[in-house]
C-alpha cells in the first residue's frame, strides 16, 4: 500500500534521511526502530507531507504522493498521530475530533456517527466530548490523539511514540489498542522507544541508523537478533528475547570493565 524508494529528506541544510526504502502492506503493523536522531520522526513527517523530500519516491496505492499537500494525503487515507500528542488544548474534545476530519468533510449526522464509531474502544473520550482537551490526563490525551487520527477514516495510520510519557499500565493499554486496530484491516506504521514491545506486536520491522535503513525483516527475526538486542532492547529485553544471553554477557562485560 505504501512504498518508499531512494528517499532523502532533511531540514534546511542538514540531511537526515538517506536512500530510505520501506513498504507497508494492508493490514500489517510495521515497527520503525532506531535511536534518538536516527530519523524515525523525520520519515513520518516526510510521509505525511510536513517535510518535502529531496529525492526519491513515495507511493500510496501505486500513486506518487511526494508532491501532494498534507491535506491531499489525509484525503487519500494517510493519518499521522505525531509525537507528544499535539492535541489542541483549548478546543473541546469534540472540536479536536472534528478537526481530524477537516480534510474529508462530513455532514453533521455522518460526523456524529464517525465520532461514535471511532471512539467505541475509548468510552472515556465520548464521555468528555464537551470539555476542553486540556482537562484530559496524559493517557486520555494520547487516546484522543489516536481517535483524532482515525477521524479521517485512514487506511494507513502512523503512530509516533504513542506511549511517550505514559504510566506503564497505560503503555500496555496503548499496545493492546494498536493490536486491535490492525484487526480492522488498518495498516499501521509504529515508532516506539520501547523497541522490544513494539516488535512484539508488529509483523515486520525496519531499523534506522543515521538516517539509513540498516536492517529489515519479520519482527520475530529482528527480536531474535543479538546485535539489535544489545543496542535497542536493553539488558532485560535481550534476556527475554531468547538468544540474547551471550549478548547480555557481552554487555555486562562492557559495563563492568571500563
Amino acid at each position: 500500500m505504501l512504498e518508499i524508494e531512494h528517499l532523502a529528506a532533511g531540514y534546511g541544510r542538514d540531511s537526515v534521511l538517506h536512500n530510505v526504502a520501506l513498504a507497508v502492506r494492508q493490514g500489517e503493523i510495521v515497527a520503525l526502530i532506531g535511536a534518538n536522531g536516527a530519523g524515525k520522526s523525520t520519515l513520518m513527517k516526510t510521509i505525511s507531507g510536513l517535510i518535502a523530500p529531496r529525492q526519491g519516491e513515495i507511493r500510496f496505492d501505486g500513486r506518487r504522493i511526494d508532491a501532494l499537500s498534507s491535506a491531499r494525503r489525509v484525503e487519500l487515507g494517510i493519518a499521522h498521530v505525531p509525537e507528544g500528542r499535539q492535541i489542541f488544548p483549548a478546543l473541546t474534545v469534540a472540536e479536536n475530533l472534528r478537526l481530524g476530519a477537516y480534510a474529508t468533510p462530513l455532514a453533521a449526522a455522518a460526523m456524529a456517527e464517525r465520532i461514535a464509531a471511532v471512539c467505541r474502544p475509548f468510552p472515556m473520550v465520548l464521555e468528555r466530548l464537551d470539555e476542553p482537551a486540556a482537562n484530559l490526563s496524559g493517557g486520555q490525551q494520547q487516546m484522543l490523539a489516536i481517535c483524532r487520527g482515525l477521524m479521517s477514516a485512514p487506511r494507513l495510520l502512523m503512530l509516533d511514540e504513542p506511549s511517550l510519557g505514559l504510566a506503564p499500565l497505560l503503555v500496555g493499554e496503548i499496545f493492546r489498542i494498536v493490536a486491535e486496530l490492525r484487526a480492522r484491516n488498518l495498516a499501521i506504521l509504529l515508532v516506539e522507544q520501547n523497541a522490544r514491545q513494539s516488535l512484539a506486536i508488529a509483523d515486520r520491522g525496519y531499523v534506522l541508523e543515521g538516517g539509513r535503513v540498516v536492517m529489515s525483516g519479520p519482527a520475530a527475526d529482528l527480536l531474535a537478533n543479538p546485535d539489535l538486542a544489545e543496542k535497542y532492547f536493553g539488558v532485560g529485553g535481550s534476556v527475554e528475547a531468547g538468544d540474547g544471553r551471550q549478548a547480555l554477557a557481552r554487555r555486562l562485560k562492557v559495563i563492568l570493565e571500563p
Binding site: G12, K45, S70, A71, F88, L99, Y102
Partner: protein
C-alpha cells in the same frame, strides 16, 4: 458630574476605535504570534477610500462604506500574500516586526502619494443633531460607531467560535504542526486572518473618520493605541481587546478633559509601560490560549557577515580618503545633503550597536535625536550655554531617558522593547509639538547659533561635514575596538542566544541596557549637530518616521558592520536630493526597501559586498527554521 459623564461617553467612542484596531491586532497575533504594526495604516486606508468613494465619487453611504471595506480586504490580501505570509515562513519574529513596520511606512507613503499630506474629515453618516439624553449630548456618529463596533465583534465572534473556519483558525493558533497534520492549510488561514484584520481596520477607519481628522500618517497613532489596548487586554483575546480599548479611550479622555491633552498622550505611554512591567500578559492573562510548540521568540539569529583580513583595512582607508575628498567631488548643491547624511550616520552608528550587535530593535531613535536637538538648541538660545555644553547636556538627558526606558523593558521579550521605544518616540513627538512655550511648537525653534568650540565656529555645511566626519570616524574606531573587546563579544553572544549567554555568566540585562544607552547618546549627539547645522529645529525634523528611517538606513547598509550604515544613510539621504521627483515617493520607497531588505537581502549592502569580496571568509548563514512551517 454631567461633564464627567460627557467625557466618559467621549472616551467610550474613542475607545471603540482603539478596540477595533486591537481586535485586528489580536486576530493576527493569535494565529501567527506577530505584532502587526501596519494595522493602523489599514484604518487610514479605509477612511481615505471612503472619502474617495463618498465625497469625490458621490456614492451613497452604504455603497461607499462597503467599497472601502472591500478595498481594505483586497489590499490586505495582496499584502498578506506578497509580503506577510512569505516572510513568516523564513524570518525570525524580530524581523517580522520590522517587516510590518516597513509595511506601515510603505502604506503611509502610498497614501501620501495618492491623497497628499492634507487632513481629511468625512461627513458624519447621518446629519441628525446630537441626541440629547437628559442633558447629555451624544453625537449621532457615536451611535454609528457603537453599532459598527458591536457588529464587528459579533461577526468576528460568530466566525471564530461558530464556523469550521474558526475552529481551524483556533487550531492553527494553538498548534500549527498538528493543524497541518489535520490537513489545514496554515498559510491560507494566516492569509485570511491578515486580510480580515485589514478589512476590520478599514471599517473602523470609516467609522471614526467623521469624528476626527485623519491624514496619511495618523495610522501609526492608531497602531500604537490599538497595541496598547490589546496589551491591556492580553494580546490574542477578543474580550480583552474590547475592554482594553474602551478603558484606554476613557482614561485618555478623562486625562485630556481634566488635565491636558498633552498629559493624555503621556498617560497612554505610562499605561503601556506599567502593563509591560507588571502584567505583560494583560489583565486577563489566564484566558490567553497558549501556543503549544512555538517559542515566544525564535532564538537563533543570522550570523553577521563581515569583511575580514587584510582587505578590511584597505577598504577602510580607501573609504576614509573618499569621504574626506567627497566635498570637492560633488556639486555644491549636494553639500548640504552630504552634511545631513554624515550627521545621521552618527545616529545610525549608535543603532548598529543596539541592533547589529546586541540584537535589540529600537523604533525610537529619533526621539533621542529630538532630546539632544532640543536640549542643545534651548540651552544655546535661551540660556546662552556654549554649544558643546548643550550637546553634553542633551546626551546626559538622553542617557537618563534611555536608562529609565530600558530598565522597565529590558527584562521583557525583544519585541516589547521595540514597541516601548515606538511609544516613547511618539510621546516625544507629542511633547515637541505640544510644549509650545519651550519648544516653539509645530513652527519650531529659530536662531540656533552655529556649533563652535572656543574660537572655532562651524558655520558652513562643509565645516559641519568635516566635524561630523571626524566625530563619526572617532566613534566608529572606538566602537570597532569596543566590539572586539569582551564587551563586544558579550553583546554578540546575547544577539546569538540570550539564554546561552546568560548561562555563560553574561549579565544580559546590564549589557542590553549599556547598548541601548550608547544608541541613545549617539542619537542625541546627532540631534544636537542637526540643530546647530540648520540653525533651526522643528518637530517634523526629528519625528517618528525618522526612527523608521534610521532602521531602514542601517539594514540597507548592513547590520553589525559599523560602516555599513554609512552606505544606507548616504543612499537614502542623497537619492531624494539627486532625483527631486523621488522626494514624494521617499516614505513609500523607504517602507518598501525595509520590507525588501529583510526578505531578500538580510545581510545588507555591505554584507553582500563582504560575501563577494571574501567568499572564503564569509561565514555560513545560520538560518532559523521552524519545523511547523518548513
Amino acid at each position: 458630574m454631567l461633564n464627567a459623564v460627557q467625557i466618559i461617553i467621549g472616551g467610550l467612542l474613542q475607545g471603540s476605535a482603539f478596540a477595533i484596531v486591537a481586535l485586528g491586532f489580536s486576530l493576527v497575533f493569535r494565529v501567527t504570534g506577530v505584532v502587526n504594526l501596519s494595522q493602523g495604516a489599514f484604518c487610514i486606508l479605509g477612511a481615505m477610500a471612503m472619502y474617495f468613494l463618498q465625497v469625490d465619487f458621490g456614492l451613497p453611504l452604504i455603497v461607499a462604506a462597503a467599497g472601502s471595506a472591500v478595498i481594505g480586504l483586497a489590499f490586505g490580501f495582496v499584502c498578506g500574500a506578497a509580503i506577510f505570509v512569505p516572510a513568516l515562513s523564513r524570518l525570525p519574529m524580530s524581523a517580522m516586526l520590522m517587516v510590518t513596520a516597513g509595511l506601515l511606512t510603505f502604506m503611509e507613503g502610498l497614501i501620501l502619494v495618492i491623497w497628499g499630506n492634507q487632513s481629511y474629515a468625512l461627513p458624519p453618516f447621518s446629519r441628525e443633531a446630537p441626541v440629547l439624553i437628559g442633558a447629555l449630548r451624544v453625537p449621532s456618529q457615536g451611535f454609528w460607531i457603537a453599532g459598527i463596533s458591536a457588529a464587528i465583534v459579533l461577526g468576528l465572534w460568530w466566525l471564530i467560535y461558530r464556523t469550521g473556519f474558526g475552529v481551524a483558525l483556533r487550531a492553527c493558533a494553538q498548534n500549527p504542526l498538528a493543524a497541518r497534520l489535520m490537513g489545514i492549510d496554515l498559510n491560507r488561514i494566516t492569509l485570511v486572518s491578515f486580510a480580515l484584520a485589514a478589512a476590520i481596520a478599514a471599517i473602523g477607519g470609516v467609522a471614526i473618520a467623521p469624528l476626527t481628522t485623519l491624514q496619511f500618517d495618523s495610522g501609526r497613532f492608531l497602531t500604537v493605541y490599538g497595541f496598547i489596548a490589546a496589551t491591556i487586554g492580553g494580546l490574542g483575546g477578543m474580550a480583552g481587546s474590547i475592554t482594553g480599548g474602551l478603558a484606554l479611550g476613557v482614561a485618555e479622555q478623562v486625562a485630556a478633559g481634566y488635565l491636558s491633552s498633552l498629559f493624555a498622550n503621556a498617560l497612554a505611554l505610562l499605561i503601556l509601560l506599567a502593563m509591560l512591567l507588571w502584567r505583560p500578559r494583560g489583565l486577563f492573562a489566564s484566558r490567553r490560549e497558549a501556543r503549544a510548540d512555538v517559542p515566544t521568540q525564535r532564538r537563533v539569529q543570522r550570523a553577521v557577515v563581515r569583511i575580514e583580513g587584510g582587505g578590511a583595512w584597505g577598504f577602510i582607508v580607501a573609504l576614509v580618503i573618499l569621504l574626506a575628498a567627497l566635498p570637492f567631488l560633488v556639486p555644491t548643491g549636494l553639500m548640504a545633503s552630504l552634511t545631513i547624511a554624515m550627521i545621521l550616520y552618527i545616529a545610525v552608528l549608535g543603532l548598529d550597536v543596539l541592533m547589529g550587535y546586541a540584537g535589540q530593535i529600537s523604533l525610537g531613535q529619533a526621539g533621542f535625536m529630538a532630546i539632544g536637538g532640543y536640549a542643545a538648541a534651548i540651552l544655546a538660545t535661551s540660556y546662552g550655554w556654549p554649544p558643546l555644553a548643550g550637546v553634553l547636556a542633551g546626551m546626559a538627558l538622553s542617557l537618563i531617558a534611555a536608562l529609565i526606558l530600558a530598565l522597565v523593558t529590558m527584562s521583557l521579550r525583544g519585541d516589547y522593547l521595540a514597541l516601548a521605544t515606538l511609544a516613547f518616540g511618539l510621546l516625544i513627538d507629542s511633547l515637541t509639538v505640544g510644549l509650545v512655550d519651550i519648544t516653539g511648537g509645530p513652527s519650531g525653534l529659530v536662531g540656533i547659533p552655529a556649533f563652535s568650540i572656543g574660537p572655532w565656529a562651524f558655520a558652513t555645511p562643509r565645516s559641519m561635514y568635516y566635524l561630523a566626519l571626524t566625530l563619526a570616524a572617532i566613534l566608529a574606531a572606538a566602537l570597532y575596538g569596543g566590539m572586539r573587546s569582551g564587551f563586544g563579544r558579550a553583546l554578540q553572544a546575547i544577539r546569538a542566544d540570550p539564554t546561552a549567554a546568560a548561562a555563560l555568566g553574561i549579565n544580559v540585562s546590564r549589557l542590553k541596557v549599556a547598548a541601548f544607552a550608547i544608541a541613545a547618546m549617539l542619537a542625541s549627539l546627532a540631534g544636537s549637530l542637526y540643530a546647530f547645522n540648520f540653525h533651526f529645529l522643528s518637530p517634523d525634523m526629528v519625528d517618528t518616521p525618522h526612527s523608521f528611517e534610521t532602521v531602514a538606513m542601517l539594514v540597507l547598509g548592513g547590520e553589525g558592520t559599523l560602516v555599513g550604515g554609512l552606505f544606507g544613510t548616504f543612499l537614502l539621504t542623497l537619492l531624494p536630493t539627486v532625483f527631486q521627483p523621488f522626494a514624494l515617493y521617499k516614505t513609500m520607497v523607504e517602507g518598501g526597501l525595509l520590507i525588501a531588505i529583510f526578505m531578500y537581502l538580510p545581510e545588507g549592502m555591505l554584507g553582500r559586498i563582504a560575501v563577494l569580496l571574501s567568499p572564503r571568509h564569509a561565514r555560513r548563514e545560520v538560518g532559523s527554521h521552524d519545523d511547523a512551517r518548513a
